[in-house]
């Protein structure tokens, strides 16, 4: 059973980053730091293409 789990690990890290960024967005919004909100919102949106890229790269690795 040889199998690469890098994709799973990296995607888990990406999802963790998503959770952290979302939390930061909500917090910054509450404290009315709108620039910080935008920064983390953009980071969060960038996580999706990154996740998709990791998936594309890792899906056929056995």
């Amino acid at each position: 059973m040889k199998r690469s789990y890098y994709g799973v690990i990296f995607l888990s890290l990406v999802l963790l980053a998503c959770i952290v960024f979302t939390q930061q967005v909500v917090n910054a919004f509450f404290y009315e730091q709108y620039v910080k909100v935008l920064v983390f919102a953009v980071l969060n949106i960038l996580m999706f293409p990154l996740a998709f890229w990791i998936y594309r790269k890792e899906r056929n690795v056995d």
């Binding site: 059973m1 040889k2 199998r3 789990y5 994709g7 799973v8 995607l11 888990s12 990406v14 999802l15 998503c18 959770i19 960024f21 979302t22 967005v25 909500v26 910054a28 919004f29 509450f30 404290y31 009315e32 709108y34 620039v35 909100v37 935008l38 983390f40 919102a41 953009v42 969060n44 949106i45 996580m47 999706f48 990154l50 996740a51 998709f52 990791i54 998936y55 890792e58 899906r59 056995d62």
Partner: protein, 181 residues
């Protein structure tokens, strides 16, 4: 598929098996539904959901930034000076009719007003004259009446302070202080 199964039944299994992924014994439908690849797909989908969920926050933040970050608040009458003795408190709503707030007269000319939804779970905070502190009855959170900062209990964030003006024997609310902590 059925043909395959029959073949597999009749065939004497080779030992060791010709494959190295040990899936020859999986026959049930959907038994491998959540395999590695599906799991990765699910993670990508979740990342997408998170990305979409931040869009409204980002949009509202961008709107606030574009508007110059200057919010205007109405000037509302809270109470007449004669109606609030020293050491007492008056409840009012500011800036919206559902944003309940609390005005405390600490000394003759010293007033403090905060939006009194507890920063823990939004219970209404009241003024305890005996303890000289703002108290949240739900989980016994205490706030410093001079700064609005939490001093005990579960709340970790200060109460938003309301700017006041006293003119001709009447206390007015003129704005909400920028929330920084």
């Amino acid at each position: 598929m059925i043909e395959d199964n029959k073949d597999q039944k009749n065939r004497k299994p080779a030992v060791p098996y010709d494959e190295d992924n040990y899936t020859h014994n999986i026959r049930k439908d959907n038994e491998r539904k959540l395999d590695r690849r599906s799991f990765m797909k699910m993670m990508v989908g979740a990342a997408g959901v998170f990305a979409v969920s931040t869009l409204p926050w980002g949009a509202i933040a961008a709107k606030h930034l574009a508007a110059g970050d200057k919010r205007t608040y109405p000037k509302n009458k809270i109470t007449a000076l004669s109606d609030i003795p020293v050491g007492e408190a008056v409840e009012f709503a500011y800036p919206g009719e559902h944003d309940s707030a609390l005005l405390v007269r600490l000394e003759e000319g010293t007033f403090k007003a905060y939006q009194n939804a507890c920063t823990h779970l939004k219970c209404p905070v009241f003024w305890s004259k005996e303890e000289g502190e703002l108290v949240c009855p739900c989980h016994h959170g205490l706030f410093d009446v001079h700064t609005g900062k939490p001093v005990a209990g579960p709340p970790k964030r200060p109460l938003p302070e309301i700017e006041l003006a006293v003119e001709r024997g009447t206390v007015y609310a003129t704005g909400v202080k920028r929330y920084e902590a």
